[in-house]
Amino acid sequence: MSVHEPTSHNFPENARKALGNKTLQRGLASAKVGFRIRRSEAAARLPEFETLRDESRDIKNHTLAHIDLYLEEFEKRVVERGGHVHWAADAAEARETVLTICRAAGAKTVTKGKSMISEEMGLNAFLEENGIEPVETDLGEYIIQLRGETPSHIIAPAFHVLKEEVIETFREKHTHLNPDRVIEEARELQDEARQVLRERFLGADVGITGANFLIAETGSTVIVTNEGNGDLTQTLPRVHIVLASLEKIVPTLEDASTILRLLARSATGQEYSSYTTFSTGPRRGEDLDGPHEFHVVLLDNGRTDLIGTEMQDVLRCIRCGACMNHCPVYGAIGGHAYGWVYPGPIGAVLSPSLIGVEEAHHLPAASTFCGRCEAVCPMRIPLPKLMRHLREREFERGIPPATVRWGLAAWAWLARRPTIYHLAMRLPIRLMALLGGRKGRFRSLPLAGGWTSQRDLPAPQGPTFQAMWNARGGRREASK
């Protein structure tokens, strides 16, 4: 579990390191622009894109209001089709469930499709501790597994890794291949990974995937991938385990289709991802392929506690990554600095809810409220509003340091009393203007170190506007 201990409390230090990491910065600078352009072009090509956002929001709001009903319906359908549903209250219970299924299948190797829930559960480390080898089959996930890292982006887990680093990693880890082989281009790297993984697919006892949707009316689970690795993961082994958090549920196939029209467009700018795979129960008698066992592990891990609260909207998230692709803070520091599974704006609102405000209090604070995340979120999650709400919760719990609280209280006391405020500000502002002198700015100033560590502070002009307005006898009341 060591890999998944959150370091969110250490966010400022994490961020500082990320800002100083030249390789990471090079990757971030090029990758984020591409995501943004492709999303904006995809949205522009679809006239009903904005309408779909409204419809999808409404679908999820309706589902969350009746989530118990739809989950029970889902379970019933899965069981009818010969599958199993396992309810897990927290990550530990989910891990145990997976282990029990793997042990019953006599599993030594499990292949895995990309799953953020698996990351949330810390599943890989747990399986390894129990003598089962997990093999990630999504190219990005595979790369970071070889490198012993965690994902830095929810749809592009190896966002932080440069091509040159992948070449290095493959040469170091694929020791059974000819050391003189040529691997320079992305294509050659893909081919090599495909070749290595093909053997792993065939040898796996259990396949584990995530789920983008759970469909109540059919008991189906849905994944979207671009590499086809998910299909091989779930159809080749004898046992297929789906890991999903509760809020992935939608009532009907039609609902999933509506939201699917937004998902890839918001994520990669594709109209659809290359593969959209629906799994309904295990192999039937007449089927030529498919798993013999079909299990769905439904993870709660604090999510039901959010229903009916101010934070409920976060459960509409479909994990497209658009918020982080457009976030200037994510764009500056990348995903690892956030210190837990979910980075970017969605992580800033989800992590405090799942791992606690004390651990993750920096995340909702580290935003300028520029609002770009909300502007692009396909599910219209009011991310800045949720971050502000979490800041209020932190403030109520007394998490901000005493100096900040007292400073704010003193300022607010004045700001509530205009007459005193206007008089009280005159002298210090005059003084500051004098000190700013000929240059009109400060390179450093007591108590303003946070500001002046990065930029000069422009000096005030001298008189306050209120004083100037008084002096010229300006109008103070509306004329009748």
Partner: protein, 257 residues
């Protein structure tokens, strides 16, 4: 609202930054509003829109500041602020802050509905088509996030700037990117904010402009501070100063020559 043909009563919400740091922005705003045919007053009962408290999680103080300021703004036909951020706070957030208090919430909505950012008020409400100003130079325009995304302010300042004699206006390569100010964010996370404003400064420099304009003093002080720190010669001003032809004072972050 104003009778047809009469001059609308406008309350100037100066904003705390213009009041304390750059009063000439307030004067420029008054000049523009008067030119647009408004009767401008500056109600005494204003200090700040409350964002420092609101965005720090101190909802109680933010609500209290809103509650105390609302009566001062109520008697007017319009409330105008030379800032998208402060106008956005009054327009979008005051009603939400006071929604638990039925009576105050009604008043907050009434103030919100008549509150405007300066340039959008001039064009969209007053129908101003042009200004009588000159500036010989090339300006880069920065869209502040709140103005852009909360209030839809984008074309309005450009439209008016397009009529300033001698001025060419250029867009940034990444016009929707935040400058890294974010109020207390700039001092709480200086390293991240520093990277953001540094990228912004590069974008500004790349336009070849000799002047940077925006409609929000927070962003302007951040960008001016960075440009001056790195020795840039680009002058920084609030858009109202150029539109009003008030460019006799030193630019932001510069002293008397």
């Amino acid at each position: 609202m104003a009778e047809p043909g009469s001059r609308p009563n406008v309350a100037l919400f100066v904003t705390c930054l213009a009041d304390l740091f750059r009063p000439t922005v307030g004067l420029a705003a008054v000049k523009l509003l008067e030119k647009a045919g408004c009767e401008v007053s500056v109600p005494r009962g204003q200090t700040c829109c409350g964002q420092p408290a609101y965005n720090s999680g101190d909802r109680t103080n933010a609500a209290e500041i809103a509650r105390r300021t609302i009566p001062a703004l109520l008697p007017y036909d319009y409330v105008v602020a030379p800032s998208g951020s402060c106008a956005g706070m009054i327009r979008k957030h005051w009603p939400a802050l006071l929604e638990g208090d039925p009576q105050m919430s009604k008043l907050a909505i009434s103030v919100a509905e008549k509150t405007w950012e300066l340039t959008s008020f001039l064009t969209d409400v007053c129908g101003m088509q042009s200004v009588d100003a000159e500036y010989d130079g090339v300006a880069a325009y920065h869209d502040s996030c709140s103005g852009l995304r909360e209030l839809g302010v984008r074309e309005q300042p450009r439209k008016l700037l397009g009529t300033v004699k001698g001025l060419t206006v250029k867009d940034l390569a990444h016009p929707e990117e935040c400058c890294g100010f974010g109020g207390t964010f700039a001092v709480k996370y200086p390293d991240i904010s520093g990277r953001m404003v540094s990228d912004k400064a590069d974008d500004i420099e790349a336009t070849g402009a000799d002047l940077l304009l925006a409609g929000d003093l927070g962003c302007l002080m951040n960008m001016a501070g960075k440009l001056k720190r790195s020795g840039s010669a680009i002058k920084v001003r609030h858009v109202a100063e150029v539109l009003a032809g008030d460019t006799g004072t030193p630019p932001i972050g510069e002293g008397e020559p």
